[in-house]
């Protein structure tokens, strides 16, 4: 369903140059929200690169996702200040509650989890950004409640789409 968009991105790079790989990956993620396997195969074909190489480069960088984002996207800050204030436990609580690992999306497509380096809100540490909204000074208990409230709302409030 998103193929035509990828095609138009690829057409902007008529020559198969491997240095175009990262800009293309970024553009495809920008347009589709994540890098699907099909998109990486298409990119590999276009650049005459083996897909193992495309996937290798893409996984090297934290900025690329391989599953579509959930309706509710949780970004856990793991910067230094947040770490000191206990973000590891917050992340653990989120992983347990959502039953997913960072980079993954729940099967119902509701929640996705991402670990980010400092998001520049150290004064609010530990901080979790949910659909762009910052939740300050969270604890494992409070983040569980926050997730519950999003689950109840069904992601309508400030959903991505």
């Amino acid at each position: 369903m998103v193929q035509p968009d990828i095609q138009s991105i690829l057409e902007q790079y008529p020559q198969p140059k491997r240095e175009n790989l990262i800009p293309i990956l970024q553009a495809v993620q920008e347009c589709c929200g994540y890098l699907s396997q099909e998109s990486m195969i298409q990119i590999g074909n276009r650049l005459k690169l083996p897909v193992s190489k495309v996937y290798g480069v893409a996984t090297f960088y934290n900025q690329f996702r391989f599953q579509p984002r959930g309706k509710v996207h949780c970004q856990v800050c793991r910067g230094t200040a947040c770490h000191v204030k206990g973000s590891a436990k917050v992340l653990e609580a989120l992983k347990q509650t959502l039953k997913i690992e960072p980079g993954q999306t729940t099967r119902d497509g509701m929640f996705s989890l991402e670990v980010v380096a400092c998001i520049g809100a150290c004064g609010l540490a530990p901080v979790v950004a949910i659909n762009g909204e910052f939740h300050a000074g969270v604890t494992p208990d409070s983040i569980r409640k926050i997730i519950k409230s999003y689950a109840k709302k069904g992601g309508d409030n400030g959903g991505v789409e």
């Binding site: 396997q37 990486m40 195969i41 590999g44 074909n45 083996p50 897909v51 193992s52 190489k53 495309v54 996937y55 290798g56 996984t59 090297f60």
Partner: protein
């Protein structure tokens, strides 16, 4: 020539070469884990570090060029300490199950730990765990044992042009795996097994068929036959400490009988059969305007490669099955009939220099009336393990000859073990088929040697033909690209997946180097020089098989038993 000083002694060096190459020539041993001679250096493992006067840090000798007057210390206290620390750090995240490892006693990491005197675990840290990948019919990946040297990655990409595997993630999460970290079975892997032979540890190994074979040997209702490939008899001795370049065909046959096989056949017989069919097919294509250049089909890694990456060349592939599969089919038809044995009772084993043969044997189109024609495939290494387990002393076994029928061979069939050999064998018979006369000179020097691309022009009956023998699939791919771009002077191309041919196959002894390959090649050509029957059509066993059973090459029965078809294969490219 320039001079460098190594450990206070002058050493001659070529300008532009690496320090490591100069050291090797001078006989100074510096350990390496990631170096592959001839491939791009990566400096990944850093075990080859040396001290160079005037440089602040240690330098990796594999990636550092020589310069005139340079002063190198290879075993200074600092260099040795650095190497030891590197090995200790590698061991910190390496499983401790050496005794249970497929590469116990054949592991470079183990050797280095012993050499450097590592006696305690100084670093203990968190270990990552990855599941075994057993999805593939030929190979097993054990990423826990991977030390990330990248040799498999480079070989797969630079020599084979496949690039089924690469590094993913980074830092402590780095691992070598397929695209999308899926099973090897859905990747573009061609099962050549060269990754096993370059792997310094036990991170890659073949799917072993030893248990299936042992079970069949113990089953009184099973009639167990075995065939051994042309190159196995010239490499097996190395597994038992003998020098490369020794043919132990007779002792091998004796060992197989001692292991309990009911019949011992020679795959070189089937190689002769392949030549009869393939030469007839070539003659047919030339006379009837069929698709040319025809390409050989005995190397299963190459076949999968074409099915995946060069599908427009599928009609160029000879329809002949490989010798392994031809003999498998003949065993479960002609032989079964002749001996009055129900084909379903026969358990057909092969010993191959090759891991891709395991995949080939499992291809559904290779079966006959619902039965697989080859039930189990052992590599040279696996057979050596079985012989050791049985306590046989290969060096002192009285030579025996193979069983008839299906055990006699010409030297042409034996040449299947070496790059260029299939072509040479095929031309001898094609010449005979086209002119009714033998080639005046059976030896085709231009098709011999370790060059990866060998080309020749051959005149048969006043007509000139272009032939080529290629090994290493990146070279084959380059040739196919030339043909796509319009090259038209070639009529017949032999392709072997592994560089040098089956004598350097992915199932051959660990630790194979260029000198060993050269010695193996030499002994195969010696056999061809010294024995009387040098053409496939001159093999009396082959003549009998056609007279009694097949009729003639390309007959209906031949087509049914000895020929196959290929499929477009959809894998992650």
């Amino acid at each position: 020539m320039i001079t460098i000083h190594v450990n206070n002694r002058p050493v001659e060096a070529h300008p532009g070469e690496t320090v490591l190459d100069a050291l090797k020539r001078a006989g100074v041993k510096v350990p390496t884990l990631c170096h592959i001679p001839g491939l791009s250096p990566t400096g990944a493992c850093r075990l080859c570090v040396v001290e160079v006067e005037g440089m602040n840090g240690l330098v990796p000798s594999c990636a550092f060029p020589v310069s005139d007057g340079m002063k190198v210390q290879t075993h200074s206290a600092r260099a040795v300490r650095a190497r030891k620390t590197i090995v200790e750090l590698l061991l910190a995240s390496h499983p401790d199950d050496c005794l249970y490892c497929s590469r116990n006693n054949q592991c470079q990491l183990q050797d280095l730990a012993a050499e450097l005197g590592v006696r305690e675990r100084r670093y203990a840290g968190e270990r990552t765990h990855h599941d075994l990948d057993v999805s593939d019919p030929a190979l097993i990946r054990d990423p826990d044992k991977c030390i990330l040297c990248g040799k498999c990655v480079r070989f797969c990409e630079e020599i084979q042009g496949v690039a089924a595997i690469d590094f993913i993630h980074r830092g402590s999460r780095t691992m070598v795996t397929t695209a999308f970290n899926q099973g090897l079975n859905v990747s573009s892997c061609i099962n050549c097994g060269q990754c096993i032979t370059v792997c310094p540890t036990g991170a890659l190994r073949e799917q072993s068929h030893i248990k299936e074979v042992t079970d069949a040997l113990r089953d009184p209702d099973r009639f167990v036959v075995i065939q051994h490939a042309p190159s196995v008899s010239v490499t097996l001795a190395e597994e038992f400490g003998m020098k490369p370049g020794r043919d132990v065909c007779g002792a091998l046959t004796a060992a197989l009988r001692r292991l309990g096989f009911d019949r011992v056949f020679d795959t070189a017989f089937a190689a002769d059969l392949t030549i009869m069919e393939e030469a007839a097919e070539l003659v047919h294509r030339i006379r009837n305007g069929g698709r040319l250049p025809m390409m050989t089909s005995c190397s299963p890694g190459w076949i999968k490669f074409v099915e995946q990456f060069y599908q427009d060349f599928l009609p160029n592939l000879s329809t002949c099955k490989s010798p392994q599969q031809m003999l498998g089919a003949v065993i479960k038809s002609y032989f079964a009939q002749k001996e009055g044995i129900e084909p379903s009772r026969i358990f057909s084993v092969t010993v191959m220099p090759c891991t891709a043969k395991k995949f080939e044997a499992s291809r559904p189109e290779m079966s006959l009336d619902g039965l697989p024609t080859v039930d189990a495939v052992l590599t040279t290494r696996e057979l050596a393990r079985m012989i050791r387990l049985r306590g046989l002393d290969l060096a002192n076994l009285e030579p025996e000859s193979a069983d008839t029928p299906l055990g006699e061979r010409s030297t042409a069939g034996k040449l299947f073990g070496v790059s260029g050999g299939v072509m040479e064998a095929a031309l001898r018979t094609a010449h005979y088929m086209l002119t009714g006369q033998e080639l005046p000179e059976l030896k085709l020097q231009k098709l011999r040697g370790l060059k990866s691309v060998k080309q020749a022009r051959v005149e048969i009956a006043g007509q000139e033909y272009g032939v080529a023998a290629v090994s290493g699939l990146a070279n084959a791919a380059a040739l196919l690209d030339e043909i796509r771009a319009g090259r038209q002077d070639l009529h017949f191309i032999e392709v072997m997946t592994c560089p040098g041919g089956c004598i350097a196959g992915g199932g051959q002894p660990i630790g194979t180097n260029l000198d060993a390959v050269r010695a193996r090649m030499k002994v195969l050509y010696q056999i061809d020089r010294d024995e009387p029957i040098r053409t496939s059509h001159g093999n009396p066993g082959i003549q009998r098989l056609y007279a009694e059973f097949l009729g003639e090459p390309l007959s209906e029965r031949s087509h049914h038993l000895l020929h196959t078809h290929y499929t477009v294969r959809d894998v992650v490219p």
